[in-house]
Symmetry: C2
Subunit: 198 residues, 2 copies
């Protein structure tokens, strides 16, 4: 068990402490980005010891994802994409990604996250949080050359799909069967992942 | 000159009247979409005659674009794209589009428009305004099959470029030379315009 000096008098281990840590993490990650936020700074803002933050949330990556309140851990979601190697990765990625978004139990939470990370006011959540923590590691794990470059191109198409199909519900994309969406975008994403690029 | 009954007592032809019409147009287009908003309804909301709205702003399309306060008329911008025909249209479109966005005199206004049309609260501006008024006509003018379908795919990639390169300034896309951005995305957009699609 972690020690927990409670500068503001909160009891360690209470639900209040846990949600206070999450609230401070969310606001620091949004304001200062992933790289600019330390577990120590989150702990200080919440008035607890850094060890308590680790006890509750694990690593800084885990804390970041917890702060986003995702309904699924995207790292588990993309694991099968990575395991299959670069060949066909775009199709597997789109299938996994669209299945999560098309699930009515999951979509509302994903919509809330998408609005938060696309909001210019919270822009560091995407550019300095979601991309380096969730997206770029996929490119590295797949062994791509220029993983950051390629995964940013992937992200530029994926956010457009999210925005038009799910957030704004633009037709005919909003009602397009999932298989057709996968078949439409897989060649684009596969070129961004493994094709020749300027 | 149009006649101008001023129900709320505004003087016809004053700058006040013009900006009142624009403000009402903006709020009606945002709330009810392009199709759901008539010039007559805008005129009534602003307390003027429909003829005065036409006198100031021209057609309903013109009024819509004026309400967006675009620094350039996108229909003039895409004219050379359309004139060249479907072959190479993606590269010409990207060149014209990125030149406007990369112009420091124009970018701030485009950013403001992008934020408005991508905002879920103002979502009808994109899905029921910008797409049918500006984007879909390009597909029709190019003589594409399934123009609405193809231009929606184009839009799904273009909004991603806008969001990552300009709104959120995600690297390496934000600093990538324009030629490289064009060469990167032209094959994607050309396939959406004229390639085989599922």
């Amino acid at each position: 068990m972690a020690s927990a000096p409670t500068r503001r008098g909160r009891r360690p281990g209470s639900p209040d402490t846990r949600s206070a840590i999450l609230a401070e993490a969310r606001s620091l990650f949004a304001a200062q980005g992933y790289a600019g936020t330390s577990v120590r700074a989150v702990a200080a803002a919440a008035g607890v010891d850094a060890a308590l933050v680790h006890h509750y949330f694990g690593t800084k990556d885990d804390l970041f994802l917890a702060a986003l309140e995702l309904p699924v851990d995207p790292r588990q979601l993309v694991a099968p994409v990575v395991e299959g190697g670069p060949e066909g990765a775009a199709e597997r990625f789109l299938t996994v990604f669209l299945s999560a978004w098309d699930d009515p139990a999951i979509r509302p939470s994903l919509l809330a996250v998408a609005r938060a990370v696309m909001d210019p006011a919270g822009s560091k959540l995407l550019s300095e949080g979601f991309l380096p923590v969730v997206i770029q590691p996929v490119g590295v794990a797949l062994g791509l050359d220029r993983p950051e470059h390629r995964m940013t191109l992937v992200a530029s198409q994926v956010v457009g799909i999210i925005l038009l199909r799910y957030v704004l519900a633009v037709e005919p994309l909003a009602s397009m069967p999932r298989d057709q969406v996968v078949a439409t975008y897989a060649p684009t994403l596969q070129r961004y992942l493994t094709g020749p690029l300027p």
